[in-house]
């Protein structure tokens, strides 16, 4: 870093700073507590959690069964839970069904298992098109689903938050849970990606 590059705060940066200062003066927020929340989402909660869940479901049939029956309880076994994770639902891709998750009305997302959503998930393009043209959206992510497979789109309109269990790729039969975890991408757990063996 040269130190000569100065980032000019955007309008929003200045407005948010002004608001934080005002709310702190009024005792409505506590800056140290805000730091802790930011740190949680930057370092502790993310799609690695979901990947562990998927890898466990692939290797442990009794866990898979519990996950499909009550995902909130099943992921709590691994220590995951919290805001936007009170009513988790796992939906499994099969040779007959490809699942895709969206929230058309805002950007609901299973935070405890996937972290905060990427910008594209919150974009107007995704929110508007995922329900009407899911196959077109999937193509933009490089995924082509044959027409004899049902594309099943889940719109997170109430409290349920969805995690897609992607299909386990061929050629991974000898892999450990840890190795499988490394293969599972965030996109595959939203339904816009497939898991590849390497």
């Amino acid at each position: 870093m040269s130190g000569s590059h100065v980032t000019v705060p955007t309008g929003a940066a200045l407005r948010v700073k002004a608001l934080e200062t005002l709310l702190e003066q009024k005792g409505l927020v506590d800056s140290a507590a805000l730091d802790a929340i930011v740190d949680t989402y930057e370092t502790k909660v993310g799609p690695r959690n979901g990947a562990r869940i998927v890898a466990k479901a692939w290797t442990d049939p009794t866990f898979r069964k519990r996950l499909l029956e009550d995902a909130t309880a099943a992921v709590a076994e691994l220590g995951y839970g919290g805001p936007e994770g009170g009513h988790l639902v796992a939906v499994e891709n099969t040779p007959q069904v490809h699942n895709l998750v969206v929230c058309t009305l805002c950007s609901c997302y299973p935070w405890p298992v996937l972290g905060l959503p990427p910008v594209w998930y919150k974009s107007f393009a995704y929110r508007s098109r995922a329900v009407r043209d899911p196959r077109g959206v999937l193509k933009e992510f490089g995924v082509e689903v044959p027409f004899n497979v049902e594309v099943r789109v889940w719109d997170s309109s109430a409290e349920q938050r969805y995690l897609v269990i992607p299909q386990r790729p061929k050629g991974t039969e000898g892999m450990s849970e840890e190795q499988l975890t490394d293969l599972v991408t965030r996109d595959s757990m939203i339904g816009v990606g497939l898991v590849k063996a390497s």
Binding site: A12, I37, G115, F147, R152, V153, W154
Partner: protein, 221 residues
Amino acid sequence: MNGVHDMGGMDGFGPVIAENNEPVFHEAWEGRMHAMVSQVAGRHFRNIDEFRHAIERIPAPLYLASSYYERWLNAMMTLLVEKGKVTREELVACGAAPVDPAQPANHHAAPPAKLRPRKPRFREGDRIVARNLNPTGHTRLPRYVRGKRGIIEHDWGEYVFADSNAHNAGKHAQHVYSVRFDARELWGPEAPRKDTMRIDLWEDYLEPDHARSKASKRKKP
């Protein structure tokens, strides 16, 4: 409300553009914004429905011109002013630049729900029609399913009704169902035959499909 936030099925927003190795927050202020809402919402806002509705009340042209966390910023200031935690003048004076909402919080409350027995009205497999409701307040019934025929796939149990809860008009807990709609029912005969939607809908959004429903048949003496 029939807001611009209700985007399912709209055209004109272009392709979905994904970013590789995206950071959790692109700029520090986004993280501060996320954390402030997390901290203040639990203590001073009534519920998530109220916050979502405050986002929906951002004037439509500004909603479209704002990023996700800019919408959080505007919505948060709206609620802070409406709840008397800060004044609009204080926000102006400090440079936070509040935006007046398109409509007040209780512009329209959902009609008071009747006291209902806890028994669910629908069962898995029942054929339903999503009602053609157009409330001017908060709702989680998107336009693209209104008037469409679907099938109850699953009963998730009872949940606080977002439409009334957002307006402090009572919890009116009722069953929420996972409802299946065929893509062709929603988007016409051009849609792929096998494709379907699942959407979670509160009982008040639904009525039996009288032409086909098992639920309506059960009610006959």
